[in-house]
Amino acid sequence: MSTENHSHHIVSFATQLKVWIALLLLTWVTVTVAYFNFGNMGIVVALGVALVKSTIVLTYFMHLKFDSKILTAFLVLVIVIFGVFIGLTFFDYALR
């Protein structure tokens, strides 16, 4: 039982604003890229951009970069487990 209260630094306003700009830019990329025809790769590109955006949100806005590493480790674990859920289900549907 400890009373650690925020020994980490304060995220500056400047950093938050830069993150915000980056996210807006990536949103613009998302929309623009959708109008190109990548065929089956379309969804990969869309998800790829979404992944970059969400990584930025997680790292800076949600503070994972400055917090205990165990939170990031848990998040990765959750994503892996969810990924396997989808993967194994696809093993059924894609190969019927």
Partner: protein
């Protein structure tokens, strides 16, 4: 009353030797993250259904997506991203002891949530007018894959919208706590955790937007 703040103040006791208030912000944060994981998996289940049905009905999904309004979707994406920024800024603001600024940023966040829901209202309303809702004529006339697309559209954006409302309510509560001094520059776990919840709402939309609106 912060249900997620870990306070080991056991109000059962009346013993004189009791020591009060062992606050553990790390525990509260961990608890919030664990709760976010459950939300990720909850929405994940719907993403799983979506991914299977999209794989099985690629053209139908594209056709359904075509009828969604990309502009409103994009505006809503910008709205949520900006609201994430305002809530993140509010945490820094509070740590810089700028109480007024903190509250204003939180109120702006709520305003953005409101704008998001208004957009949603118009979007859905437009579709309802066209009969494109479960039970409506145009909906019933759709072919299998496209029906599934619309079912998932309503389900996923609806569930997401519910979380926008819950998140906004949490932010309002936190704003009040800042106002009355229960959240301060060195005691802001609730604000942080409410912020985390709000960011989750943003994260889900970051995936929903391309998967719903931007199928070629």
């Amino acid at each position: 009353m912060n249900i997620m703040s870990s306070s080991i103040s056991n109000s059962d006791t009346i013993a004189a030797h009791y020591v009060d208030e062992h606050r553990d912000d790390e525990a509260s944060k961990l608890g919030m993250w664990l709760f976010l994981f459950t939300e990720l998996i909850l929405f994940g289940g719907l993403f799983l259904v979506y991914s299977i049905y999209r794989m099985m009905n690629p053209e139908a999904f594209a056709a359904g997506s075509f009828h969604l309004n990309v502009s409103i979707g994009a505006i809503n994406t910008v709205v949520l991203i900006t609201s994430s920024a305002t809530v993140a800024l509010s945490i820094s603001a509070l740590q810089f002891k700028k109480k007024r600024l903190t509250i204003n940023l939180l109120l702006v966040t709520i305003l953005f949530a409101f704008i998001f829901m208004v957009n949603k209202y118009f979007e859905w309303g437009h579709k309802f007018e066209l009969g494109l809702f479960p039970g409506g004529d145009a909906f019933n006339a759709l072919e299998g894959g496209e029906r599934l697309f619309y079912v998932l559209y309503y389900f996923m954006t609806g569930l997401h919208g519910l979380h926008v409302i819950i998140g906004a309510a949490l932010i309002a509560w936190v704003a009040w706590e800042v106002k009355v001094g229960k959240q301060t520059h060195d005691n802001f776990a609730f604000l942080e955790n409410a912020g985390l919840y709000w960011h989750l709402v943003d994260l889900i939309w970051i995936f929903l937007f391309p998967l719903m609106y931007l199928i070629n």
